[in-house]
Amino acid sequence: MTWRVIARRDWRLLLDARLPKVALVGLIGVVSMAAYVYPVVGTAPITTSRFGAFVGGWLGGVLPPIGVLFGYGAIAREHESGALRLALSMPHGRPTLVLGRFVGRAGALGSAIVVGMGIAGVLVVYPFGTLQPLRFLALVLLSVAHGALWVGIGVAASALVATNRRALVLGVVALFVLVIVWDAVTAGVEAGLVAAGTTDGPLRTAVRIGSQLDPGSAFETLVTALAASDRGAGAWYDGPTLALPVFVGWLLGPLSVAMLRFEWRDLA
């Protein structure tokens, strides 16, 4: 289990650096702030499950850049400096190295999310809110997984290129496309279809499905489903039936592709 050795080293290095520490404290602050505001501006009943739907948008905005920030230097920085040669002179496989780096970084981000959500849970429940423990636990785990998903995209960018700058550029492009461009393009196409009088049919369905295929939409759909007390009558692609496999795909897909690619790359 040498990935644990790698993960522990990365965890320590990450928490020793100033920028990641500031990002983690900021994240805890944002989640706590959302929990502080939610009982004031939210509608009754005030519950930890409904808080999920409230904070989902906040997390959707904050976690992607922090995740990519944590991930993009995982491999490329050491590839560029030469430290990767030292790392790979140890009896680690390359996939193990990538996995260890991912776990260390995602673990650090996940810990901050757990702390932030813990504080948030207290703020939501006290004095008039209700704790729904299982759903709240699911919300915390889902948020941790969302953070890990973006760290995975950053680590994947890092494992696919040879320099830190290229990894940063690739990570930022992925962030920009998946967070901003995806929604804008699908919304634009859908508006165009409506303007053209196509309000139904397979083309419209395909566009609606397409709008649910980015990680942020999948996360928000799952968080909303956790908060809902009953299942709505929406189309299947607007609910967890599509969102869950999409979310898992984004969580595992980029990292798996990068691990495979990294394993067979020449590192001269």
Binding site: T2, G82, A83, L86, S89, M90, P91, H92, D266, L267
Partner: protein, 303 residues
Amino acid sequence: MTVINAKGLSKRYGDVLALDRVDLTVEAGETFGFLGPNGAGKSTFIDILLGFVTPSDGTMSVFGHDCRDEGVAVRERVGVLPEGYAPFDGLSGRQHVEYAIRSKDVNENPADVLSRVGLRDDAARPATDYSKGMRQRLALAMALVGNPDLLVLDEPTTGLDPNGAAEMRTILREETERGATIFFSSHVLEQVEAVCDRVGILQNGRLIATDTIAGLRDAIGGGTKLVITPDRVDHETLDAVGRVDGVETAVERDGAIEATCTNDAKMDALVELHDAGVEVVNFRTEEASLEDMFVEFTGGERA
């Protein structure tokens, strides 16, 4: 027992053939020196051995494990001092060794390992602040963790002062006495000559010679070096010596002619000079050094 076994190993980068059908075996307990001019392909060979690079053709195995497909099994028994490496950001020397101990899953005292390479007093400093020589010592310390069966050292004396180089040689002798096999790549021929049982000479990606140092000396006709101090040295003088049967090379150095030749050719060379009207002020014979042999084998390229 064969430790390193390369068969028909080739590596091509675009149009450049970095390694060309290299066959090489290194046996257990050997200290093998790998020589070659810059760009000869030494680092490519070691990169393949460590699984950093996939060969274009051929195979290489270490302890019977394929270097690419079973890289972890290889590195479990190998300590590596890679060339062109950098220490990890944010870790002290001691933390580097601790990382190696945990990675190799062994139970050793980091202070003992660091003492062995002379870094105990600097153990707490960030390794990124180390000098080049200290970094080499640190990488050697990490390589020594776990008493590996094979040590692969790529230009290990780079950046070391003479004392550091001597300490490195002492450690290598200790490792050999322990039973470790050592694969040592260097362009510092004195280092190789001092520690290696056998050497391989690589040039333009091809292994042009593999033998003991005595064997290489025999291969160039006994390996005697004749150093002649004539009253003048010019092209004609060098040509005169070079024409003698049994003379392999004749070069001018510091006003003297250095000729690598067979024992029988020594007197012929002196007579040839006399016949050419050159007065011989002094002469002496030396055993050909590894550098002389290297120049001979590589046709003049320096390591």
